[in-house]
Symmetry: C2
Subunit: 383 residues, 2 copies
């Protein structure tokens, strides 16, 4: 042997084959000055009432650990927003963003041999978190021919005796679609008696453009854990404010994971977040929602009038799915847009059901939306 | 059957038998107005330079997500404090306190069937995190007859072909002891060639009362991951600022866990923490260290002169181990102290090697230390 072989790192099974996400690679390839339709975070500033309260607690208060579960007053506010569940503050955990809530819920519910139902398409963290918890992901189609709406047959046929959890996501990243009350009743009817837990990801709950706020599966199905947070509706992504609430026995176990994982989320973030449950907080949220609505209307109008491409009307969140299947390979188009300084994300990054679509996020100013559409139009015409 | 049996929650194997910690139960039983010698967090305020910078970034900057690994400038500062490792900022992850660093490191290194060497006594999170990662904890004695110092024979005899990780903790919670350079050389000599990873928990590294700052096993053994943070030395427990650095292949995998677990720690915390690596930051740290030293000297003097009990001289952290074996059952004494409004923690909560000891933390003002000792004296005399 001419050289000593470099020792290989033994990768634990839970991490084998996990790769840098396709979305991350797109961002890494973006040119300076690009207009970003790829983002999953608001570009709006965190509302003043939150920031002022954070400044006050930093200047005037001590900020040691909170209990693992988080400030009791904060947890009380959170469970009060789900009055139909009749929970106490003990049935809620404040987490490091909604991502840690998902993580702790999955670790508390699943083990090797379990299956987790995940929408196709959906936020790519679900399959990854399932892997970390030792569970298998089983996808259920949200058919593109139904504009990525819920399909009971597609859902029900994926259930096996190994199914432990069903992820329910509404409003959806990446589709911007919400589940209707009829959808939720259907889901509850299918799950009833199976022992399957629903994890309801409601991180986009307050970003809605329908007349009614999207309903929660927890209103129809009692074996539900709800995941939520303030990252999107209050433009607080970097603050790391999330929560998990629901079935007490499951929450008790998720709290063990949370305590040994992160102890608590930032105390400053927790205290400042109390300002969300005030008139000023709700006013700020309404104000942001109106901005998102205006941007959505502008974007949808320009996609139709300038690009002449089909796109699904968003009911919530800040994404639309634009059908580019008439223009050839979607990754070729993503790259063509990148060359023209526009960042978009391929739908297939969220599941093969969304192949042929791009996720267009409207986390951009109206001016940038107009300029971005112009660049896309030029890129399409120059092909 | 007269009643439908209540369905039992199926607890995943990783969580079976995990209980509320003994320490938590002591705190829950404390009376109002108690003097707290039980705490593991500084009672000093977060230094002004950190708080001022946090206020500035909240008022003047946007605070969205950072990259999963954290701010590059912050990671560069962190790796620069370990020049012997020759690492780049890519070999470091900013975490939600040092606890998440430990968690991610263990998840990235271990899987079912692995064993992790853990000091006895030590911080009780290690065995719990090992369980969550599917690994078995194997304790190695830090013998009380050596004042909880390192014992090479005790360490070496616990190594098997399943040993994947050895936890090295210096300065130690609960003992306040540090490992000498000779200890570290001995550990490195034992581990060399085994393929075992060292996880070096250095959260108390900057709280030392010896002439030299405690050395790191990473100076002697290259398969090391270092865990650290600003919680203790900069009184930032509630801010959640920690880190993990070391072997690139392992860090790469720990980053996957971290990204799907918490995404990033608070952006405000990250930006404010940059102030630690300034003259003002280092000055504040020195100032705190001097306060801890004065409190330690006072506490040790009073334990000797007032309580007349043996206690080991701390070399770092903010704990001493007080030998109460002459006074009967340690839990009886903890309860007696609780009745007299003094909180202490039984040594056996950290491992059976510390049975007969109490961990006395000096996270209390000099005035409270004096009053607390007086209450303990009275409690002992009243037995």
């Amino acid at each position: 042997m001419e050289a000593i072989e470099k020792e290989e790192f033994r990768v634990p099974r839970r991490l084998r084959g996990m790769q840098k996400s396709n979305i991350r690679q797109i961002f890494d390839a973006a040119l300076p000055g690009s207009i970003n339709f790829g983002l999953g975070q608001p570009d709006l500033s965190t509302p003043r009432c939150i920031r002022e309260e954070a400044v006050r607690v930093i200047q005037k208060e001590e900020n040691g650990y909170t209990s693992h579960a988080g400030l009791p007053e904060l947890r009380q506010h959170i469970v009060d927003d789900y009055p139909h569940l009749g929970l106490t503050a003990d049935d809620c955990i404040v987490t490091v963003g909604s991502n840690e809530a998902l993580y702790c819920a999955t670790m508390a519910l699943c083990e090797e041999g379990d299956e987790v139902l995940v929408p196709n398409p959906a936020f790519p963290a679900y399959p990854a978190i399932n892997r970390l918890a030792g569970a298998e992901t089983v996808l259920y189609r949200l058919p593109k021919e139904k504009e990525f709406g819920f399909d009971a047959e597609e859902f029900e046929k994926q259930i096996t005796d190994k199914t432990r959890v069903a992820i329910i996501l509404s409003p959806s990243n990446p589709t911007g679609r919400s589940l209707s009350r009829d959808d939720l009743k259907e889901i509850a009817g299918i799950l009833e008696g199976t022992g399957i837990y629903a994890i309801s990801d409601e991180i986009y709950k307050e970003l809605y453009f329908t007349d009614e706020r999207p309903a929660s599966i927890s209103e129809y199905y009692d074996k539900t854990l709800v995941v939520g947070g303030l990252s999107k509706n209050m433009s607080m992504t970097g603050w790391r404010m999330g929560w998990l609430l629901g079935v007490p026995e499951a929450i008790k176990r998720a709290l063990v994971v949370h305590g040994y994982n992160t102890v608590c989320t930032s105390t400053i973030t927790q205290k400042a977040s109390l300002a969300y449950w005030t008139d000023a907080g709700k006013h700020a949220e309404d104000h942001c929602r109106e901005i998102w609505r205006r941007r959505k209307d502008l974007l949808m109008e320009l996609i139709e009038s300038e690009l002449r491409l089909p796109a699904f009307e968003p009911e919530g969140a800040f994404y639309t799915m634009m059908d580019v299947s008439s223009l050839g390979d979607e990754m070729d188009l993503v790259n063509k847009f990148l060359e023209n300084k526009v960042i978009t994300v391929n739908g297939s990054g969220f599941g093969d059901e969304a192949k042929g679509f791009l996720r267009i996020s409207y986390c951009a100013s109206e001016e940038n939306i107009e300029e971005g559409i112009a660049r896309m139009k030029k890129a399409i015409n120059d092909r």
